[in-house]
C-alpha cells in the first residue's frame, strides 16, 4: 500500500484537510430489525463534509444494512437521519438519489444488458429532462442533451482509464473492471455523498491499489465525501480519515484509524472474542 501513502504525501494540501468540513450527515440512535431480528441497534455517528469515512466490522455486523438505511432502501424503526441539516423522515431510495446520495454495491449491480458507456450514462438520468416528445425526434434538444452528458461521462471514463472497454457490454468484463465501471456510474451522479460497499472485495493487490488511488482522487479532485465499507484493514487505514466500527449491529468504536486500531473492543471483535 506504499503507493497510496506516497499518493497522499504528494499533495500536502489534501492530507488532513477534509476533516475540517462541517457535518453532512448524522445518524441518531438508529435501530433496524427484520421480523424481530435486530440488524442494527441504536447506532449514532456523523459524516463530515469532504472526509473519507470508513465503516468496518466483522461479517454480519450490519454494515450494509447501515448503508441501506442511509440511502433510504431500508426504513429504520427507531432513530433519525439528519441530511444536510434537515431531519429526514421515511424517504424513498430515488429521493435519496435526487438528494445527492450515490452508492455502489457489495456484489456488483450493473445493468448487465448495457455497455460500459450506457451504464455510466444511466448515472446521469436524474440530470436529464428532455421529454418523451423530444426523445422521439432525437435530432435537436434530446440529442444536444445526450451529447452534453456524454461529454461528462467521457471525462469519467478518462478519469477511470477505461477507454478501451467503452463499448463493451459490462457482462463480459472481468470483476475488477466491473467494480470500476460501477464506481464510474456512481460518480456520474455527481453525488455529495458517495457510499461504497466493499469497493475492493475480491480484487488482487494491484487492482486494490488502483481502486484506492481512484477513491483518493475522487475525494480530492471532486471534493466528494465518501463513506466506505471495507474488509481490508490496510486499505481502510490508508484511505480513511475516520472509522466507525460495528459489531453485531452495535457501534463499538469511532475515531481516527490509529485510535480505532488500538481499541481493545475492536481487536476482540476481529479476534472473535465471545461477548
Amino acid at each position: 500500500m506504499n503507493a497510496l501513502v506516497s499518493e497522499k504525501e504528494l499533495s500536502p494540501a489534501a492530507a488532513g484537510a477534509p476533516a475540517a468540513g462541517e457535518e453532512l450527515l448524522r445518524v441518531d440512535n438508529v435501530s433496524l430489525s427484520f421480523g424481530g431480528v435486530k440488524a442494527i441497534t441504536n447506532i449514532s455517528f456523523d459524516i463530515l463534509e469532504g472526509e473519507i469515512r470508513a465503516i468496518i466490522g466483522p461479517n454480519g455486523a450490519g454494515k450494509t444494512s447501515m448503508l441501506n438505511v442511509i440511502n433510504g432502501f431500508y426504513h429504520p424503526q427507531e432513530g433519525t437521519i439528519t441530511w444536510q441539516g434537515k431531519v429526514r423522515r421515511k424517504m424513498k431510495p430515488y429521493e435519496a438519489a435526487s438528494n445527492g446520495i450515490a452508492r455502489t454495491f457489495q456484489n456488483v449491480a450493473l445493468f448487465k444488458g448495457m455497455t460500459t458507456l450506457d451504464n455510466i450514462m444511466s448515472g446521469r438520468s436524474l440530470k436529464m429532462h428532455k421529454n418523451f416528445f423530444w426523445q422521439m425526434l432525437w435530432r435537436g434538444p434530446a440529442e444536444a442533451e445526450e451529447i452534453e452528458h456524454r461529454k461528462k461521462v467521457e471525462d469519467i471514463i478518462d478519469f477511470l482509464e477505461i477507454q478501451a472497454i467503452r463499448k463493451t457490454p459490462v457482462g463480459r468484463l472481468p470483476y475488477g473492471l466491473q467494480k470500476r465501471v460501477e464506481l464510474g456510474r456512481a460518480l456520474a451522479m455527481e453525488p455529495d455523498l458517495l457510499l461504497l460497499d466493499e469497493p475492493m472485495a475480491g480484487m488482487n493487490l494491484e487492482e486494490k491499489e488502483d481502486m484506492s488511488r481512484f477513491i483518493i482522487d475522487v475525494n480530492q479532485e471532486f471534493g466528494t465525501t465518501i463513506a466506505l465499507i471495507e474488509h481490508d484493514m490496510g486499505v481502510v487505514m490508508d484511505l480513511s480519515d475516520r472509522v466507525v466500527v460495528l459489531d453485531y449491529g452495535k457501534k463499538i468504536a469511532d475515531g481516527p484509524p490509529e485510535e480505532v486500531q488500538a481499541s481493545q473492543a475492536v481487536i476482540d471483535a476481529y479476534l472473535g472474542v465471545s461477548h
Binding site: 432502501f73 430515488y94 435526487s98 444488458g113 448495457m114 438520468s125 426523445q135 440529442e143 445526450e146 451529447i147
Partner: protein, 358 residues
C-alpha cells in the same frame, strides 16, 4: 467479410451515437426500405399484399409495442390482444362519431385510448413482478374481451356483434372499407409501421429507453440511481399499449375490414408474444423477424401440400400447421433462447471480424 470498417472514424458524438454507426448497416437499411417502398408495390399482386405484407407489418408493429414493455422494460404482459382490441374499437367509434375526419388520423389517435387503458392495467406492476404480473395482465385480456362482447355501444349494436369498417376516404383516395385498394392500404400500414419504429428507435437509445432497461436489468439499482419505478413502468405500459392499439386499429381498418371480439382474444396475445420472443427480446429488428416467422410460416405451410400435389382436407392442414408451428417454436427456443436478433448479431459479428473467428 462484407463489413469493411477501416477508415470509418467518428469526429463527433452525433456520428458516434448514430443509430447505425457502421456504413454497411446504413446501406443495408436503405436497400430494405427501397424494396419495401418501391420494389414490392411495383411487383407484388393483391394476394401477396393483403395476406402477407399487410398482416406482417401490422404484427411487426404490435410486436414492437410488446417488445417495448417486455423486451426493454422487462414487464411480461399477456394482454396485448386486448390492448390491440381497444385500439380497434376506439378507432371504430372515433370514425363513427367523426365520419368526416381523416381515418388515418383516427387510427393514430385510437392508440391514445389503449395507452390509457394500458397504464391502468399497468398499475399492479409496481408491487407484482414476473410471472405473477403476467397472470394479472390476463385480467386485462378477459375483462376487455368481455367489454367488447357486452358493451353494445362499442360496436354500434350491430346484430352480428362485430365491427364492420365503413367506407372512408382520405386525401381523395379510398383508404378503408371493402373497395379500398390493397396497395393504398399497404402504403398506409408501411408508413405508419416504419415511422413508429424509427421514433421508438430514438426513444430507446435515449434517456427514457435507458431508464426502462435499468428497471429491466436491475430494478433496485435503478431506483437507487433516481429512477421512479412506478412512473417509468407506467410510461412503458402506456407507450407499449399505444403502439399495440394503433396496430390493432390498423389490423381491422386496413387488413380485415371487420372484426369481432374473438379477433382480439388471448390467442392474439400469444401470437404477438411469440413474435417478440422468437424475434428476440429487446430488439426492434427482432420484432420484424419474429413477425415474419410467425405470420408467414403458417401461410407458407398451407401451400406445401398443394405444391407437393396431394390433396389434404383443409382442416387437417390447419391442425398439422398448428403442430409444426408449436414444435418449431420449441425448437427455436432451444436453439437460441435470445431469438433471431441474437442469431443475426452473432452472424454479423462473424462477418465483421472475418476471416478471424473473434
Amino acid at each position: 467479410m462484407f463489413y469493411r470498417e477501416a477508415g470509418q472514424f467518428k469526429t463527433s458524438y452525433q456520428a458516434d451515437q448514430a443509430l447505425m454507426p457502421i456504413r454497411q448497416d446504413r446501406i443495408g437499411l436503405a436497400a430494405i426500405l427501397l424494396i419495401a417502398f418501391v420494389a414490392i408495390p411495383f411487383f407484388a399482386n393483391d394476394f401477396f399484399l393483403t395476406s402477407i405484407m399487410i398482416p406482417f407489418l401490422v404484427f411487426s408493429l404490435a410486436a414492437i409495442g410488446l417488445n417495448v414493455l417486455t423486451g426493454f422494460c422487462g414487464q411480461l404482459s399477456l394482454g396485448t390482444g386486448a390492448f390491440m382490441g381497444v385500439g380497434a374499437y376506439a378507432a371504430y367509434k372515433l370514425t363513427t362519431i367523426f365520419p368526416d375526419a381523416n381515418v388515418i388520423l383516427m387510427v393514430l389517435l385510437s392508440g391514445v385510448f389503449s395507452a390509457g387503458v394500458g397504464a391502468i392495467f399497468g398499475l399492479p406492476s409496481l408491487r407484482i413482478k414476473g410471472l405473477y404480473l403476467a397472470v394479472t395482465t390476463l385480467a386485462a385480456q378477459f375483462f376487455l374481451e368481455w367489454c367488447f362482447i357486452r358493451i353494445g355501444w362499442l360496436y354500434n349494436y350491430n346484430a352480428s356483434g362485430a365491427i364492420e369498417i365503413p367506407h372512408r376516404e382520405a386525401f381523395g383516395v379510398v383508404v378503408s372499407g371493402a373497395e379500398s385498394s390493397p396497395l393504398v392500404r399497404y402504403f398506409i400500414v408501411l408508413t405508419i409501421t416504419v415511422g413508429i419504429a424509427m421514433l421508438m428507435a430514438n426513444v430507446l437509445r435515449g434517456r427514457i429507453g435507458r431508464s426502462w432497461m435499468m428497471i429491466r436489468d436491475m430494478d433496485i439499482a435503478a431506483e437507487l440511481m433516481g429512477i421512479r419505478p412506478l412512473q417509468t413502468k407506467l410510461l412503458a405500459f402506456a407507450v407499449s399499449s399505444y403502439i399495440c392499439g394503433v396496430a390493432g386499429a390498423m389490423m381491422v381498418f386496413f387488413w380485415l375490414n371487420a372484426a369481432e371480439p374473438s379477433s382480439y382474444s388471448i390467442q392474439l396475445s400469444f401470437q404477438v408474444l411469440f413474435m417478440v420472443i422468437l424475434g428476440g427480446l429487446g430488439s426492434l429488428a427482432g420484432a420484424f423477424m419474429g413477425a415474419a416467422f410467425i405470420w408467414i410460416l403458417p401461410v407458407f405451410l398451407k401451400f406445401i401440400p398443394g405444391v407437393l400435389g396431394f390433396d389434404v382436407a383443409a382442416e387437417a392442414v390447419e391442425h398439422v400447421t398448428f403442430m409444426i408451428v408449436g414444435a418449431l417454436i420449441i425448437f427455436f427456443l432451444i436453439v437460441e433462447p435470445h431469438g433471431f436478433a441474437r442469431l443475426w448479431q452473432i452472424g454479423k459479428q462473424k462477418l465483421r471480424v472475418w476471416p478471424f473467428p473473434y
